[in-house]
Amino acid sequence: MREAVALAGATVTELVGDRADDWDLAGELPRDVLRKLAEAGLLAAQIPARYGGPGWNSTDSGEFTAEVGSLCGSLRSVMTAQGMAAWTIERLGDPAQATRLLPRLVSGDTAAVAFSEEQAGSDLSAMTTSVTVDGSALTLTGRKTWVTAACYADFLLVVARMGAEGAVVVVPRTAPGVQVHRIGDPLGCRAAGHAHVWLDEVRLPLDHLLGGGRQPLPLLVTTALAYGRMSVAWGCVGMLRACLAAAVEHAGSRRQFGRPLGDHQLVARHVADLWAGEQIATRACEHASRCWDADADDLGAAVVLAKYVSAQHAAAGAAAAVQVLASAGTRDGHVVARAYRDAKLMEIIEGSSEMCQLMLAGHALSRR
């Protein structure tokens, strides 16, 4: 791993310290931690150097994401949101918009991306949030659900319909007509700042429409989600590493029936499966990151594969870790208890496991 990545890992490890348990229980991340990481460009480390970002490739960024994911799933979720926002601006924004917005994301500001609606989850074509243009202003109306990191965001990227096509609107948190309603009791990633976002006739200048809008909706959604899927997948690798470390420590030190737990075959199998899961998820993520960095033709499938495999192994691995630690790991806030709840969410967000299966099946079937 490059020196800068190792240094960033040490920085975030020190910043988080032993506080992730408390953040999970409180359901909130300290603003100063987010600001420090945002100012260092570490909430979106793939922002290119020409915009003031670290300019890391996907592989380095992924390893760092795993490091953060092993410490705190909520903080990693905020990173996913910030990185997804940055990538969406870089791809869909025109040069002036990228020059205006991306430097903000490496100097302290945070952002979130709003996709889902009450009736449009996996089926984003059912989206009803819409943007209309009238002279030199746009008007945005709709209700978004489960927007990760919205509680912390200085601005939101809202995916909307624009006539028959799609569009992404840059919405300042403080714009008139914007309401952010915190979700108080999420199952996992409890401190990630999930919120519902209401947009009632929000009027903004036309330059808040990324690239002028009217992009094909599938292109727009897949572009943003591709980054999110990579980030979630690497975050799951981190969860698996944290669970593996906790299970190995416990199985190696705790003695029952006169020997270490790890010498009992049924416990040893959990450890073996956890290690195998961590290795499989890592390899899938490394492959997808190599495809990302090489602009490979099979990028789409590699990204979905990494997300699908990593989330499944994280959910299974976290459950196994709780089982190995037993009463030692069943206190809410404990690293394996957090992973147990956080990993379940990873099987749902940025394309549920079932949606991933449908996409992968379609990919395989098209190769007949």
């Binding site: 990228a98 690239g211 094909p216 591709a226 990028l299």
Partner: protein
């Protein structure tokens, strides 16, 4: 695919794109078929299409160039590639 002047003949762009879409969808394509319509390109492959165009033809497709009008058909995409290659600086992207 690129010539010494970094320009690609429109026919070559269209042939390449038809091959790309056929590989992704498992069906035959013409230059006028609706790329994102029924039976067209799935969302899984939508970003791959942009990345493929950029890498194969040495252009950068960002901002307003990503509008649906430019991607509706193979014909439209080949016009986009020609315009971006003519612009010479890799397009209007940052």
């Amino acid at each position: 695919m690129t010539t010494s002047s970094d320009r690609t003949a429109p026919d070559a762009v269209q042939t390449d794109l038809v091959q790309f879409l056929t590989r992704r969808t498992g069906k035959d394509w013409t230059a006028d078929d609706d790329v994102f319509g029924s039976g067209g390109l799935s969302s899984l492959h939508a970003m791959e299409l942009v990345v493929h165009l950029e890498r194969t033809f040495g252009v950068s497709i960002r901002g307003g160039d990503l509008q649906k009008e430019n991607f509706r058909t193979v014909q439209r995409m080949s016009e986009l590639v020609e315009r971006l290659q003519t612009a010479g600086d890799g397009g209007t992207g940052a």
